[in-house]
């Protein structure tokens, strides 16, 4: 689980009586999160379901999810890290600066009430979204909320879980962790995996122009990424595997149509709490699966001289 204090959504359903959504809008982005997993269901230790739970929403604007919340804390944009740090201080009964509190958009009373409620909870959970993890502070914000959850365990049971967006993005983290020890942004150019987000992450590689070929798997950066990234993808040979001809396919050198994951391609996908689930496709297709095509590309590459021996960097004995 990568060191974070977390749990499965089954535990949330059966135990959580205090639920905080931070920087996310599940009502519109994860519509069944409330009803199937977290807020509404009746659970073993929360037999009355919604009535036994308190829900807090922390966000910079009043989204549709605010209607489902008991308490809505509207903070100023870019102040997530400050709010989390003040909460960590208050949890430990440390003094905090009043001007720093007012800079967050919240009052001391609101923050103290939040701390009291967190400590009183039997089982608390933070669900944090991209409004926290992708704004000013980025991974430091994620680290702060994970640390707050960990520190609250001195008083009660508290966990944290990211609200993952795309279907099997959790699976990508898990598979890469299993195979390389790191979750994403892995560079094999020295023959062993190295991890350094900001250096080996896609946007940075493309903006700097470091990558000189790209294989895009079930994604459409041509429609979603910053323009300098798209420009670079158009400059270099780009290969796209996708069930549809996408924006990226149109600027790519090679496009291969593959079966749609979970619709006509079987396999496994991970839920956001890192529970693997089997896919049960309802349609049949004559398109090959991503798995088959990637393996065929691998076999074709493997039939060529190994780049590492060929480049004189290593002998076959070292590999």
């Amino acid at each position: 689980m990568g060191g974070k204090v977390t749990c499965t959504l089954g535990e949330v359903k059966n135990r959580a009586d205090f639920i905080v959504y931070w920087g996310g809008n599940p009502a519109e982005c994860h519509p069944r999160h409330f009803t199937k997993y977290a807020l509404i269901p009746k659970g073993k230790f929360v037999p009355r379901g919604r009535k036994d739970r308190t829900m807090v929403l922390v966000d910079i604007r009043e989204t549709k999810s605010a209607r489902a919340s008991d308490i809505f804390l509207q903070i100023k944009p870019g102040k997530d890290f400050e709010v989390l740090t003040i909460l960590r201080a208050l949890v430990k009964n440390q003094p905090v600066d009043r001007t720093q509190v007012s800079d967050t958009g919240l009052t001391m009373d609101q923050l103290q009430d939040m701390v009291d409620r967190m400590k009183r909870a039997k089982f608390g959970v933070f669900f944090f979204g991209m409004g926290l993890s992708m704004t000013r502070g980025k991974h430091m914000n994620s680290a702060a909320v994970l640390t707050l959850a960990a520190e609250l365990n001195a008083y009660t049971k508290f966990v944290a879980m990211p609200m993952r967006g795309h279907g099997n993005v959790t699976g990508a983290d898990v598979v890469m962790r299993w195979q390389t020890g790191y979750p994403f942004g892995i560079n094999f150019s020295r023959g062993y995996p190295r991890f350094n987000p900001g250096e080996f992450s896609t946007i940075d590689l493309l903006v700097r122009g470091d990558a000189d070929a790209a294989l895009i798997l079930g994604a459409d950066p041509g429609a979603t990424m910053p323009q300098p990234c798209i420009d670079h993808l158009a400059r270099i040979p780009t290969i796209v595997l996708d069930p549809k001809v996408t924006h990226t396919s149109r600027l790519a050198k090679v496009h291969i149509t593959t079966a749609a994951t979970g619709i006509s391609a079987p396999g496994t996908a991970y839920r956001m709490d890192e529970v693997p689930l089997p896919l049960r496709p309802a349609l049949q297709t004559s398109y090959p699966t991503d798995e088959q095509i990637i393996r065929r590309i691998y076999d074709a590459v493997a039939s060529k001289p190994d780049w590492m021996i060929h480049s004189g960097k290593m002998t076959s004995a070292q590999i």
């Binding site: 967006g165 890469m176 892995i186 987000p197 050198k253 994951t261 619709i263 309802a282 991503d290």
Partner: protein, 115 residues
């Protein structure tokens, strides 16, 4: 027309990965996605088994999958710093193959997580 009913189907649209969906499908289309949310319904009902797209393209021209695979392998092998990106809408089995390919190429493997 054969109606195919799949119980406890899994939706891979968002990170919730709900696995209690009941799908009704004919030969070409999913006609119903019971229990799915708005986003899940749109996801299931907008796919089709019809061959709407060419098997493979090189420079926008239709080619065979064999040719496209060979061209892809050549381009990736020639590159000094090939990037493998995406991976959030493919199966774990395909992700495993992608990491193996990245290692063989001496390239970079990355997912939507880094965005």
């Amino acid at each position: 027309m054969v109606l195919n009913i799949v119980k406890n189907a899994t939706c891979t649209f968002c990170g919730c990965v709900c696995d209690d969906i009941e799908l009704h499908a004919d030969e070409y289309r999913i006609t119903q996605a019971k229990k799915a949310c708005m986003l899940g319904k749109a996801w299931f009902l907008n796919h089709t088994a019809e061959q709407l797209y060419p098997d493979a393209l090189i420079d926008g021209k239709e080619v065979s999958v064999d040719q496209a695979v060979e061209a892809a392998a050549e381009l990736l092998d020639q590159a000094d710093m090939p990037l493998i990106y995406g991976m959030s809408n493919i199966t774990c089995e395909a992700q495993r193959e992608a990491v193996a390919l990245g290692e063989r190429l001496g390239g970079v493997v990355d997912s939507h997580t880094s965005l």
